[in-house]
Subunit: 229 residues, 2 copies
DNA sequence: TTACTTAGTGTAGAAAATACACACTATATT
DNA sequence: AATATAGTGTGTATTTTCTACACTAAGTAA
């Protein structure tokens, strides 16, 4: 019901779990707070939703301010609003995750005002997080696991051209388990959204792998179909 | 980021898509508004989140006030917050769906203050809805479709004891398609969460079907496993 | 007793999932 | 030039799951 519009003392924010892949590890972007509460703790980046912003815009803005990146794949996944989750009052927060390819140079321009530093930390060794951010992160990882099994979002973590081994590696890191190489290739190729290029990997000291691209057109046609790993 | 706690002119509400099954049709509970905006329109039931309530509690309260029911399966599924979604100001709303068995007697005690009436309407012929509630409903149905394919939530819509035909019927209504009887039975039984009772349906004018119960223990053990229809 | 209505059951063929091992190729090293 | 190294790339047989499909059994009503 929405006909009553009182002035309430609650705050609505967005927090983001920004997943990044640098070719080796899966990481998330954390900031080290320089204000109370939780001064000197690591926290997920977040902010208050602006008055004229949609929720998605707000999430995109947070990401942009922190990294300078735009057009990144982001997805809203859950709202956290326990009365006790923020020591200084009622803050309801909406969580987004994003998938980002790291390892150009542009991936992170460190951030202003409310943080000492911002850093990509591997998900295999995360510090204690401020507020209920551990819970928010856990749920984000769970959601992304489920999503990657059914839709080809793994591409968002890779450069435009990638090898099948790199793609498999992303799946393994997100799902947290090893996959069989031959079966993986069979399945991902049969899904029909990969375009094999006439181009090979460079700068490796072993047999160079064929590069592939993700074919967005073909994917759009398939919409609704699902893979599963 | 959450160290700033300004007093913002935005309102945070919860709206609920309450799915009910009466043995025949899948319905949702709508209320007819008696105040502007959207006076005389049908809308999803909802309310402002109370200061000391968790989000889940708030959703449960809305449901309780409307129907007198407690302990109902509810799930948060998406936040809607476009700046223009409410004509009188910024209202961010969090959507929940619930699954309810209808057809005892207790299912609905109609509601007070802000509504002329509340009614269970079949999803096959819904009226135009107030605000962006059509969008909220659509997304809710989509979520529930996906969920029912993977987890046995269909039980929540049925009485404690039910026949396999009833169960199949629920699946067909939610998924919006016919299922093969033999294949359905094979799969649902092999999932291993049904308990066959020594009891038959009563009061039918044809061969009585065997009754089943949902075995929550077995389900807990299987957690993580998935069916798919 | 008969007619009616729904319950309940099996199988064969197709498709998908899994398990599994070796030869190829590019580079680096001696 | 020969060799070591490290990752690429490929096929098949087996098992499991999915799909399509039709009749008999049981109970009730007339």
């Amino acid at each position: 019901m929405e006909q009553i519009l009182p002035h309430l003392d609650s705050v609505f924010s967005i927090d983001c779990v920004l997943f990044g892949f640098d070719g080796k590890e899966l990481k998330i972007l954390l900031i080290e707070r320089n204000e109370e509460p939780f001064k000197d703790w690591w926290a997920l980046p977040g902010n208050i939703v602006g008055a004229d912003e949609s929720l998605d815009q707000s999430a995109a803005r947070i990401l942009y301010e922190l990294t300078g990146l735009r057009g990144i794949y982001m997805e809203q996944y859950y709202a956290f609003g326990d009365p006790g989750r923020h020591p200084q009052g009622r803050v309801i927060t909406l969580a987004y995750y994003a998938l980002i390819r790291l390892g150009g140079d542009k991936d992170l321009r460190p951030v202003s005002t409310y943080a000492k530093q911002a850093n990509w930390l591997p998900i295999t060794s995360l510090p204690k997080l401020a507020f209920d951010h551990q819970k928010i992160y856990d749920k984000g990882l769970e959601k992304i696991k489920r999503r990657i099994k059914h839709q080809p979002i793994a591409f968002e973590l890779l450069p435009e051209k990638f090898t099948l081994t790199q793609l498999q590696h992303v799946y393994e890191l997100v799902l947290g388990k090893k996959l069989d190489k031959r079966n993986f290739r069979k399945k991902i190729v049969s899904f029909g959204v990969l375009k094999e290029l006439d181009e090979k990997q460079k700068g490796v000291s072993y047999r160079a792998a064929t590069l592939y691209k993700f074919d967005k057109r073909k994917y759009a046609k398939l919409f609704g179909k699902e893979i599963s790993f």
